[in-house]
Symmetry: C2
Subunit: 226 residues, 2 copies
């Protein structure tokens, strides 16, 4: 018991020594529908408590079971338009007449506090984010291993009508063509391995010199002792 | 037994599916003497067979126990100077009247074959490498947790005379001042954790889109099936 306690204390001391302040990062996951980005997002949010999901604002009506502030912030169109004009959205888009956008303030708060923000968005959102927040962003494109496998996954979700599946397959080709705009590419031929890849990318991105905002002081402290 | 075999075959199939050709990368480790880069290099070479150490050319005489082609390529000064003039060295330096350099050809061969090359070099070598081979390089600066700990590690190597240790401590300040030139910074307060950090950085760098030279063909193959 005493030894276990000592070991724990030692480990705690080491962990404390590790505390160099860092700025959080914006982790973007994109992929064709069915390639696995939503599953990977869910796994990451569950496994890593320093990561939070960006909650979008939208003008579309709330559906049963959806919660304001968890699934979306449900707002009116004039309010949305004001946010656009005031530069309060990092990216936004219109889909079937409804407006969707990412509020800048909560993301900025998380990054400044050293927490990471996950974005499960398409290439259009990624392009906009990249224009406004490049140095905070790390983007991953998730590839399906094959087209039959992609189709199998879309069908496994069942429920969707044949026409919807056809439409998604067609859209996949469009999505696929944007792989070149991403920092990293992960092949999802095995969800556990793809997840390990995503976590390694996140771990490495956290060690980037430019994100370690406390380094300058830390090194100055070392040099003062020489 | 049959099941284990089937599982193994399945795993092998998955691994085969993962084969997207990639270009190797140049992984640079730098740190003040005693901060642990040489230990980390040794651990990495042992753990990861896709990584090889760059072997330098030098004009200094071979010491007992050193092997030509393993520790260094021992060459004469005129040959070295010819290599410099012909651009056959990625970086070089003169230390105490002896010349040391990194031959370009074996590095280029390794990268083209998808193998990674490790460089255990100082900030001057890193600066030169960065000028000639930036896009292939990922650089890590290893920090000691504290100055007393750095001194303790330098003394633990024993053998070295007090004056040598003093000299190394003084040089550490100079080395430390170059942390800002590196892509990543790893704090070596615990060798196993620092090693895990290095491996995560390497894993992530391998997933960078620009290194996955086979991606273009892979995506074209997917799109052809849509």
């Amino acid at each position: 018991m005493a030894m276990a306690g000592a070991r724990k204390a030692k480990r705690k001391g080491k962990r404390a020594a590790r505390k160099i302040a860092r700025r959080g990062l914006m982790l973007v996951l994109s992929s064709p529908s069915g390639a696995g980005k939503t599953t990977l997002s869910r796994m990451l949010l569950k496994a890593d408590k320093s990561v939070e999901l960006s909650v979008s604002v939208t003008t579309r009506p709330r559906r049963p079971g959806e919660k304001h502030g968890r699934d979306y912030f449900f707002i009116q169109k004039p309010q949305f338009e004001k946010m656009v004009v005031n530069g309060e959205l990092l990216e936004w888009a219109e889909v079937f007449g409804n407006l969707y956008g990412t509020p800048r303030a909560p993301v900025e708060r998380a990054l400044a506090a050293g927490r990471d923000v996950l974005f499960d968005i398409d290439w259009q959102g990624t392009q906009q984010l990249g224009q406004t927040a490049r140095s905070d962003m790390a983007s991953i494109f998730v590839l399906p291993p094959s087209i039959p496998e992609l189709e199998r996954r879309l069908r496994a979700r069942a429920l969707d009508a044949e026409l919807v599946i056809r439409g998604r397959m067609a859209k996949a080709g469009d999505e696929l063509s944007h792989w070149f705009e991403y920092d990293y590419v992960v092949l999802n031929d095995d969800i556990e391995r793809a997840f390990a890849d995503v976590r390694q990318i996140l771990a490495a991105e956290r060690l980037k010199r430019e994100r370690l905002t406390g380094l300058s002081d830390f090194v100055r402290g070392l040099q003062a002792k020489l």
